[in-house]
Each structure stands twice: as structure tokens, then as C-alpha cells.
Amino acid sequence: MKLKLFSGSPPPLSTPLDVRNVMWLLAAMVFVVGPHLMRLPVWIGIFVVVVVGWRAWISWAALRSPPRWLMWAVTIASTYGTFLTYGRIFGREAGVTLLILMAALKLLEMRDQRDVVLSIYLGFFLVMTNFLFSQTIPLGLYMLACVWIFVATLVGFNRVGRSPTLRERLRPAGALLVQALPLMVAFFLLFPRTTGPLWALPQDSRSGQTGLSESMTPGNIANLIKSEAVAFRVQFTNGMPPYRSLYWRGPVLVDFDGATWSMAAFSAQGQRNYSRYERPSMYTVTLEPHNKTWMFALDVPATYPEGTQLLSDLQLRHRRPITERMRYEMMSFLNYRYGENTNPPQINRALRFDDTRNPRLVALGRQWAKENPDPRMLLQRAAQFFGTGFTYTLEPPPLDRTNPYDDFVFNSRQGFCEHFAGAFTLLMRAAGVPSRVVTGYQGGEVNPLNNELIVRQADAHAWSEIWVKEEGWVRIDPTAAVSPMRVENGVNAALGPIGVIPSLIDADRLGLLANMRFAWQMLNSQWDAWVVGYNMDRQRSFFSQLGFPNIDWRTLGFWLMIATFAVGAAVAIGLLVNDRPPKREASLVAWNRFCAKLAASGLARAPHEGPLDYLARVKAARPQLAAEVEEITRRYVQARYGEGASREDLRALARLVAGFRAT
């Protein structure tokens, strides 16, 4: 057996921190703020790099920490810099910036173990702040790696004496994290979720929540159309309806001031006066959070989920702004007629416009109405009108501010859905036909792997509804007149090969690339459904699927406790099993028991006595036991000092000892 000596006192606390440990911490910090630095102003990145470099230099060259007054000065300066950049020091971006700057400064003034530990805890906070901006799979994995590095750093700082190797840091940290996983999953599934925030969220707490807005001015939707972000996903339960009927209804815009269409300030809750309802379609929508109250459904909604209301213009609204992913089940009628007896104030509202603006278009409408006021005739003329000489493009030229629709219809003649919908609706109003603009999404993309329809922001659309006596509200999509492809096949088809959005290449729809893309999308969809979108509703439905309907926090807490004990016990047993003495000693256990039995009968083994000497003595004293004692001793000597023993041999030895009677 080797002998190792340890003596003396540990280094007192005032000695500088171990250089390698500090480097680990700095690396972990840089990794964790990396994603932030890419989206925050450049000066923050430079600041962090300079401070980290300075700290590394201090450690490397064993310099003194910067003086206190300098630290104060830099702290105040960086706070002021944050304020100058954002105009405040709270809110998501400003808050995160401030946190990063303070974490960097903490690194700089880090003197002892306690400071180090605080820095590492700050690092965990920085991990959390990353999730405010993105919760994708890649970022999640990246942050897991960051946590691993932080834990490894903490392990390094808790090793006293020799600085541990890379393996000696990463392995224990990895083991801790891996063993923590089961409990983490249990907590994740079982921890009771709440609805709504505990305290007011800052306005900008959410990112990437692009979506439709309450109003529409020509030029608004273009930004949306270029965005590939997912708006919602749909799983149809009774087959997908044809593509051209996939009109996902969103905000309905009635009020018009000459340039901007906006939602009615107050809409009455609707009575569903459908006079025809056929072809029901059932589906589940997974809606991404967009901080607004509206939800999307196919025309026309038949049922609506709890906590929502249906307005008279068929808008589906949630009680609160939707700040987390939401799943809801819907049923819609695709073949319908509604609103024949809409009340006069609503009809009047749908006729109102400012006739001092867009005079030429208004004059055109009035002239058409004079020639033939029949809505059917008007529609036909409008279809002809928009069908010739207009181009569908996502990049129309800018329009005149006062009379944008005149400019569009009579000059540029280039635009996309909202131009066409806006111009058409105005034309109809001028001709005396009640009409309104409906915004929402049209179409989507089917993932062939799970038959899920993915509706992206790029699928945002605007169309019109006109009111006809005895027909009710009728959907008219003027864009279809210009670019039927847009409605039939989606925005990429409409744009043709030149206007294709780069990353959405439809060319190899069934190729390897497309398959990988779809697999990745499916994975993302599962991730979004089960991880990112795991909220109270999801938790409920998960447990009711498992056979626990109406689960409440008490039950959850109970199972949480069970899970904690079970996992804790499993880990503890695992550790103890690992801790067992090597196999060879099993023979020793049996031997000691054997000796104890003999000792109890008055024949104790002397400490210096070897097994064979003892055997001789026992044989002399108890001749009647000779055979048994000899067998046990032989087996023990072979197992312990001979060529070893198999598991069966050891078991046989244990059995012999168990059956042995010393008297």
C-alpha cells in the first residue's frame, strides 16, 4: 500500500485565486453572455471583452485588483451608459445589459472564494436571461453546456490543493447534472403551473412576437410576410380542408380614415346567426404567444374554447393577452352563411369613409354604382379591374401619404394583399356596398411527417368581406384576382422564381433537404408542445391522459414528494453500490463471520494467527468439526490469497459459513 502524506495548513484566504480556476470562470462567463452580445449594442461586447481580458491579466500576472474608486467609477459609468442607450435601466434589454455589466465588474473585483461563488450564481442568472429572448433547442443545448461549465468551475473551486485536470472537473460536474436529470424531469412535469404573471411584466419582456396589429396601413404587413417565424400550428382531426379555404380569421378592421384601417373600438359580443352551417372541420391550434388577445380560427367558428369570446364579426378573443403558447380545440363550418340580419348601425359603420381622401377611387366607385348598383355586377367589374394591369409583389414602391389608395390604384399598381384588400374595400364602400377588411393568415405549409399545418408570419393575409342582402357577409379575396397562386399555393408560389424568399426554397420539396427540414420542424413542434409550451393546460391534459383528470396542486405536490424520495433513494443507492468494497472482500466478510462464531464458542482467533494456524488449532480443539472447518478455511484461503473466486464460489462459502455450528 502506498503512503501519501498531507500536512501543514491550507493557504490562507488572502492568497490569490488559482489562475486556472479563474480562467474557467472567465470562459464560462464569456460563453453565457455570447448570445446576448450578438443582439445588444456593440459597446457592451467591447466592455465585456475588455473587462474579462483585464481580469485574466490580473490573474495571470498576479497583479493587484483595481482600486475601489476605479470600480465605483466604472460601475457608475456603465449604468449611465445603459441609461443613455435605452433611456432607462429597467425592462428586458436594459435590465439584461445592466446584469451583464455588473457580472463583468464582479469578475474584476473578485477576491476570494465568496466572490467567486457569487459570480457563478450570477452566471446562472445570465443563463436564465437568455431564455427571455429565445427558447429554441439549439439555445437550450448551448445553455446546458454553459451550466455544465459553470458547475465544473464550481467543482474546481471546491478542490483544495492540487488543481484538478479537465477530466476531474467535467466528470463530476457531468455526473451531478446527469443524476439531477430524472428529478428535474419530475419537477418539470409535476410542478404546479399558474396562469399569468406574479407581477407586471415589462412591456418588452417578450421577443420575436411579431404578429398582426389592430390597424392596417399600406406597407404594414410587408415586414410580417418576410418573417419565417411560426404564427401557429394546426392539427386537423378530420382531414385537412382544401388549401383555398384555409382562411384563418384574425382582427376585423372596420374603421377607415383614408389611409389606415382599424378595428372597431367596441365590438358587441356575437350571437351566432348562421343560416347555413355545413362541412364541419375539427382541429387543434397551437398558437405562439403574440401579446394580443385575438386567436385564429377558420371561417366560421362553430364552437370556441373556454375563456374566449366570439364577437359579432366572428373575431375570436381571449380574455387576456396571450403571453405563452396556447393550445385550443376548434370546430368550424367551412360552408356557411351568416349575418343576413346584421343590425343597421353595423351596416352603416361598414359604409363609412372619408370622401375627401382618395378622391379618384371614391369617384370610380360612385360611378360604378350609378351604372349598376347590383353587388354581383360590381364584384365582376372589380375582378376585371384588378385582374388587369396589377402586379403582386412584396416590395411595392412607397405610396402617397394622404391618398395612398389613389396612388396605388392609378399609379403604381404594384402591391400585395393589404393594398388590394384596402383598395377593394374602399371601392365597395364608395359604391354603396357595406364592406370591411379582415386580416389573418391564409394557407400554411403541411409537414408531411406528422401532417401538421404550419402557419408562419409569412402567411399573413388580408381580405375583404362585403355584406349582401339575403346573403349576409361574403368573403371576397381581391388578391386572388391578381394572383390566384397566392391563395391556391401560398406566398412563395405567388412570388414566382424571382421573388422567392431565400430559405423557403420549394424546389426540392421532396428531396433530402426537405425531409431533414421537415424532421427538424417536427422535432421543433414536439419541443414547442412539450417543453416550451408546457403550461397549466398542457399539464392538465397530460395528467388526464395518464388517468388523473382534475389534478390539483395538492396531488401534484404529493407526487412531487414521492418522486423526490424515489429519485433521491435511487441516486443514494447507486452511490453506495459504487462504494462497495471490491469483490475480493466478500470472502473476508464470510471469514470474519466464521471466526466470530468460533469466538463465541470460546475459540477466538488471535490477531496474529493466520488462517492455517487457526485451522490447526481449531482442528485440535474440536476434532468433530475438522472437515467443515477445513473446507471453509480452504475456500477462504483460495478466494483471498489464491487465484480468487467466482461469484458462485463466494456464495458457496457464505452458505457454508451460514450453516456452520461451532459447538
Binding site: K4, Y121, M128, L132, G161, V531, V532
Partner: protein, 317 residues
């Protein structure tokens, strides 16, 4: 006051049977574990992470929070396991002179896996850390400045660890009743032993000693290697011992009454110095203390006997 109270409460709670028979294995029920201050701060951190996750409905925030919380739980088991089943044995503790550093040695073994950052400390002292590698015996030496002559008690030892994350402090107490004999601090100003203390009696009569070569006799166990006739052994005459005669005139009595100093400890310091002097001169010397007399002799064993006598003379308890 409060610290004293806490100390006595902890003494009462963690009272151990002393001294224990080695080896002591740190079985489950001997190990105590509590969160450290760092651990509490971590718990606070996790709490804030949890509140933020709830507030911002961040699913990955929940994942992070629960991962860290579970990790802390697992770390508790790891910390506990890091200490569990260690085997401790008391090591030899060599005597020292007052003012020197006494070392209490404890050897530690692990039954299976390497244990990192195991610390051992006496109450109020700085801990000594060691990594305990499987199939190696780690000897941890606790240095203590021996301030007072007499018997220095090691007292109860705390063996603890905070590895791997420092969130928990797992500890156990062992008390082997280890002691170190502390000799008086030699007084270098005491000079040589006074000449008049040489015994004038029995002059000229040879006494067995080791001054003058007398004869060769057969080796008896206990003879020092210095006395063995190596040349005779080389001539294959067997193991023989050279016998010397000591001259009675070179005999020296180190006497309590000769050391003049105001107090007991200073007196003992002087005597201690004389013993060391006499031994280094190779003289045969005896020690005379009130109520105790050690006959003249020489050699390490004799010196140790004399120093022990000095160390324990009316030893402060």
C-alpha cells in the same frame, strides 16, 4: 458568550465515546450534514430563478431552475458519500519540545473510490486537506504549536468535506485520545551542566559503560548496533558485542537543586538543556528530581526517559 453556548450545545449533541478503538469507519449514523452559507445563498438564487420562471412563463427557465435544484440535492448525497465509509486510524505522534510544532497524525483510507478534498481539523485550528486515493494510505498530519510542557491532548477531531459543490458541509467527529508528550523548552542560556555535580564517590572503580574497550562477549538482544563487533562478524566469528568500561569520573548528575531559576518551568527548561548537552557530549548522566532519580546512563532511550520525566514532572493537567 453566544459562541460558547453554541459550542457547549454542539459538544452535548455530538458527544462521542472517547477514546475510540481504531480503525474508525465513518458509518452513516456518524455523519452529519448541513447546508453551508454558500448552499443557502444558492437556495436563494434558485428561488429567484423559480419566481422569474413563473412570472415570465419561461419553460426553459423552469428546466434550469429544477436542474439546479435537483443538482443541489444530488450534490448533498455526493458530499455525504465523499465522507462515508472512510477508515481512520491514529498515527504515531512524536514528542516535541515546547514551542515546537507537535504533529498529530491520522491515516485515512477509502474502501473504493477516490475522495477529494477531505479535511481534518482540531477545534479552532485551520483544516488540513487531502485527496484520499483508493488503495493508498493517506497520512494527514495536523500541526499544532506546543505551547505548554506536559501532555498535549489532540482532542476531538472533525473530519469534514464540502466537495463537490460546497453547498453542504458533511462532518463527523472522531476522538482517538491521541496525545503528544511536550518536553520543556530547552533554555539555551543555561550553559553546561555545573562541574560540581560530578559525583566524587566510587572514583577509580570500573563500571560497565562504554568508555574503554574491555572485552568481547556474545551478543545479547538489546545491544546497540554501535557496540557490535562488525570486524569480528566479517571474520565469521559470529555476532559479538564489544564491552567497554565507563570511567566513573565522567559520570554526571543533573540535579534539580543545581538549576537555579525563579519558577518551575524555567528550572525544567534549564534541566532539559543540560540533558541535551550531556547527551551531545556523549557523557553518562543521571537525573535527580524531587522524588525521582534516574541512574546515570547514556543513549537515546536514556535521554528519552529523562526528557519524559521532565515533561511529566508535576505536569500541568
Amino acid at each position: 458568550m453566544l459562541a460558547n453556548l453554541r459550542q457547549s450545545i454542539s459538544d452535548w449533541i455530538f458527544r462521542a465515546t472517547i477514546p475510540e478503538t481504531p480503525p474508525v469507519t465513518l458509518v452513516q449514523r456518524r455523519i452529519f450534514i448541513l447546508p453551508t452559507r454558500q448552499g443557502y445563498v444558492f437556495a436563494f438564487t434558485v428561488l429567484i430563478l423559480l419566481l422569474s420562471s413563473i412570472n415570465y412563463a419561461l419553460s426553459l427557465g423552469f428546466v434550469l431552475t429544477f436542474l439546479l435544484a435537483s443538482m443541489a440535492g444530488v450534490a448533498m448525497l455526493h458530499t455525504w458519500r465523499n465522507l462515508a465509509h472512510l477508515r481512520l486510524r491514529p498515527g504515531r505522534c512524536d514528542p516535541v519540545f515546547a514551542g515546537e510544532t507537535a504533529h498529530f497524525n491520522v491515516s485515512v483510507e477509502t474502501p473504493s473510490q477516490t475522495r477529494f478534498s477531505i479535511a481534518l481539523r482540531r477545534r479552532g485550528d485551520e483544516p488540513v486537506y487531502a485527496d484520499i486515493v483508493a488503495s493508498e494510505m493517506a497520512s494527514i498530519s495536523l500541526g499544532v504549536t506546543a505551547t505548554r510542557r506536559g501532555v498535549a491532548q489532540c482532542g476531538r477531531l472533525e473530519v469534514f468535506t464540502r466537495y463537490p459543490l460546497g453547498f453542504f458541509h458533511a462532518w463527523s467527529y472522531v476522538d482517538f485520545g491521541q496525545t503528544v508528550l511536550v518536553y520543556p523548552r530547552p533554555d539555551p542560556l543555561a550553559g553546561s551542566p555545573p562541574a560540581q555535580s560530578r559525583s566524587a564517590s566510587e572514583e577509580g572503580i570500573p563500571v560497565p559503560g562504554d568508555e574503554e574497550f574491555n572485552m568481547l562477549r556474545a551478543y545479547r538482544p538489546g545491544d546497540t548496533p554501535k557496540q557490535i563487533a562488525w570486524k569480528a562478524l566479517a571474520r565469521e566469528q559470529g555476532l559479538l558485542t564489544k564491552e567497554f568500561n565507563a570511567t566513573a569520573s565522567s559520570e554526571l548528575w543533573i540535579d534539580w537543586d543545581e538549576a537555579r531559576a525563579p519558577d518551575l518551568e524555567s528550572r525544567l527548561s534549564i534541566l532539559c538543556h543540560w540533558v541535551l548537552q550531556a547527551e551531545s557530549f556523549g557523557q553518562s548522566y543521571g537525573l535527580r528530581l524531587p522524588g525521582r532519580e534516574i541512574p546515570p546512563s547514556r543513549g537515546d532511550a536514556h535521554q528519552t526517559r529523562c526528557l519524559e520525566a521532565l515533561a511529566l514532572f508535576e505536569a500541568p493537567r
